[in-house]
Symmetry: C2
Subunit: 166 residues, 2 copies
DNA sequence: GTTGATGCAAACTATTTGCAGGCAG
DNA sequence: CTGCCTGCAAATAGTTTGCATCAAC
């Protein structure tokens, strides 16, 4: 077997191309961040990412984490969203298909869904308003199947609802 | 004509009832806040409200503004939302009909819309996931009719898009 | 060697909170 | 007169930034 050049995962290559196109530099920190981002199975926030890296011995400063996440969002490898709390949630973009979210107010479960008919209806609405859509954000808050059975404290739920920044 | 008791606008009465039901007090500050909130034609934020009051000689502290807005949200007279920036937007609730928003990334115009078919489709989706919806948040970001004609700086738009916390 | 990147700490922004004095009920 | 309310200032939390140093190209 002949020795081959070490292969970078596709996302790292995409990031590299993006960086080069803007004369930005491919640093070790940036590569490790991309790797960690794509190692995250679900949504995560800046601090979780920072801590996950620290636990693996890669102490990358919070500032760099934020700066790099910003670049990743710009290059389309990461999606940034807000679920009504005061911090940003991120997720690796593994395919081009976007999705919306159902968010459980009791257990914080995040259920992703995609519905072509919903997308189409939105476009129809935009057409009627002569509005050119570029991005959209759609979250439904409530109780997931598992939490509907549980006896939950209504006042806690009500408070959580009223505090939603959405 | 006989002298009648001074009549409070409906929203103040509703607020009063809400406060009494919780043994909270109807203070001058609270009444002036409700009045100002319902005097705002569109969306506003905590700071705008605070400044609008200050300009009218009613210097109510920011802390009280926030505390009262919170009460108004709990009592259903005010809706709180986030449009992808880092602060909360509020609006007076003048009818029970909720609406979603189209938000222009160029001029910040906020266009409200309500579509029964969209609402129905959301409920259908929730049913399929056995999810019990309690609230939802739906914003479409893009360019309003007026701004589609203007020559806008694409890179500014792209940056704005990428910074959206949605 | 340039130019951009990093880490640190300080700055920032929006919002919340503790506390002492004040006012509604 | 009691307990909630207010203003103030300090505290928070998440995120951004200035600056000196360092590394990619």
């Amino acid at each position: 077997m002949r020795k081959t050049k070490i292969e970078r995962p596709e996302e790292q290559q995409r990031f590299e191309t993006f960086l080069r196109s803007r004369q930005l530099k491919l640093t070790g920190e940036r590569l490790e961040l991309v790797e960690e981002v794509f190692g995250q199975p679900h949504h995560f926030d800046a601090d979780q990412l920072h801590m996950a890296l620290k636990q693996k011995g890669k102490a990358i400063s919070r500032a760099t984490v934020y700066r790099t996440l910003d670049l990743l969002v710009q290059c389309g490898l990461v999606r940034k969203s807000s679920f009504g709390d005061q911090y940003a949630h991120y997720e690796a973009v593994r395919s081009d298909e976007h999705h919306d979210h159902l968010i459980c107010l009791n257990c914080d479960a995040i259920i992703e869904f995609f519905r072509a008919d919903l997308e189409a209806l939105q476009e129809q609405i935009c057409r009627e308003f002569n509005f050119k859509p570029m991005h959209h954000s759609h979250q439904i808050f409530g109780l997931c199947q598992a939490c509907q059975g549980k006896t939950t404290d209504d006042s806690v739920l009500a408070h959580r609802l009223s505090q939603l920044n959405t």
